[in-house]
Symmetry: C2
Subunit: 285 residues, 2 copies
């Protein structure tokens, strides 16, 4: 017997498609309905086995769902959930896959449309999985295997819904960690948003005439800079304070590196290279 | 008919092993002799097809060579070449695969032992190929295919030897660019050494407690930080001035990004993300 009767996925891209593929393969839901704006893309996702069926009519798509997973860009999550909630059946759980959490969760818990449905439960999630490829064409049933998903309960979060969302991600193969939305946003500013900004600035700072003199080191270090700029604009914008804090910390470290290199205090900057290697080796390939 | 009778490779690691593998496969040399300090490692490289034979006796190893390729860490290249030159047969060409060039080439051209052998020719090279794996076990015959190798002639460089070294790298599949040692060092400070430093500092600045919250973005951006610290110490040390210049330029860009993010002048930092994506897309996967 499946955990959910019907899962609705809003936004069937790499993440949404991989959730559907894994949920159907692992029989976590009897049915997965994909909701999107492009019927051709939905048809292709269906052929790939990511969804049981697709629809561009979101009201029809969510009508029978007992779990809704919103996989759209972070700035669209709040208006989408506010719009959906009045049409949900009683008991429906809504979660998301957004890369930032504090603004989304604070706004939704304060939202009139969400507050007046005591029988519909929002629980914030962030699966820490991804790829440099996008779209359901690159969906992988094992994308969440051994990957961390962060579930971010707030004081207003329903504890049963929280436990069910946790179980859902675990069923997809994830290791689930729970922390507050603010803790989440501070952590991912360091582990995800700062690396993205650095990759972008490295690529931006390389003169076009020198691009032919790059090798695998440059290619690896800047890989994520090829990501969708609008998606990253939304992530950085909605996590501005924490990203600024992580930049300030990084600037201090960089200044210390430069100063010791300049002064010939080699033991200082070598220690930083060693610490970097130590952390990188812990994470492994 | 092969281009060289016998190639001697000093240091049969990833680069040296791949040179031997490619040279033998493409019949660029009748024989490739690997020279190293560890007989077991040489025997393994021989079994992998990287070298025709191996020896720990460098004098014996270079005796019959008409091309010597020094693939050892940058700081060891100068003393090795100075030691080798008196024992070379007339007409021998020596090149290297070091990541920095100016110090090596200026020192060698000023060196007494090199200057008094007018019939032995040193030409600096830097194949821009690599891997995050090291050792001859990971050698690839196609490592240089479609990769740039920079050949760095100085005013003292023999033009015939320079043309032969160029042809040698082209025979291995490389696209060869020629520039002065100083131009080379300034360019790779930006395209290779700066990315390495950034990757190391990013990894170093991530608190150990947050490492489990990293995903593919962090993993890609910090990958090269796992590299051998001693090798990178030598590279950064021997290219200190250019690395400092590239750090200063990067610090300015980073400060501009942070200032515009802080001030809410979003169009400025978004433009930097767009420029980063543009450059990354030019390079491709």
């Amino acid at each position: 017997m499946a955990d959910f009767r019907q899962i609705a996925i809003l936004g069937v891209g790499l993440i949404g498609g991989s959730i559907g593929l894994a949920a159907l393969k692992r029989k976590i839901a009897d049915k997965v309905v994909g909701i999107g704006r492009n019927a051709d893309r939905l048809a292709r996702a269906q052929r790939h086995g990511c969804i049981s069926e697709g629809t561009t009519d979101w009201q029809a798509g969510i009508r029978e769902a007992d779990l809704i997973v919103v996989c759209s860009p972070v700035e669209s999550i709040i208006p989408l959930v506010e719009q959906l909630v009045p049409f949900c059946q009683p008991g429906t759980i809504i979660t998301d896959a957004g890369s930032t959490k504090q603004t989304i969760i604070e706004t939704l818990h304060a939202s009139e449309s969400v507050r007046c449905r005591k029988d519909v439960y929002f629980v914030g999630s962030h699966p820490m999985a991804g790829s440099d490829k996008s779209g359901a064409d690159h969906a992988q049933a094992d994308l969440f295997d051994n990957r961390v998903t962060i579930v971010t309960p707030a004081p207003e979060t329903d504890r049963t819904a929280q436990a069910n969302v946790r179980k859902f991600w675990e069923s997809l193969g994830s290791r689930v960690l729970e922390m507050s939305p603010a803790e989440h946003d501070a952590a991912v500013a360091i582990t995800s948003h700062l690396p993205h900004v650095m990759a972008s600035l490295l690529a931006a700072s390389t003169p076009e005439s020198l691009l032919e003199l790059t090798a695998t080191g440059w290619a690896d270090t800047t890989r994520v800079a090829a990501g969708d700029v609008e998606l990253w604009r939304q992530i950085v914008s909605t996590n501005r304070g924490h990203v600024l804090q992580s930049l300030t910390n990084f600037e201090k470290l960089l200044a210390a590196f430069r100063a010791s290199l300049e002064a010939g205090q080699d033991e200082h900057w070598i220690k930083l290279l060693e610490q970097g290697k130590h952390h990188r080796d812990i994470v492994g390939s």
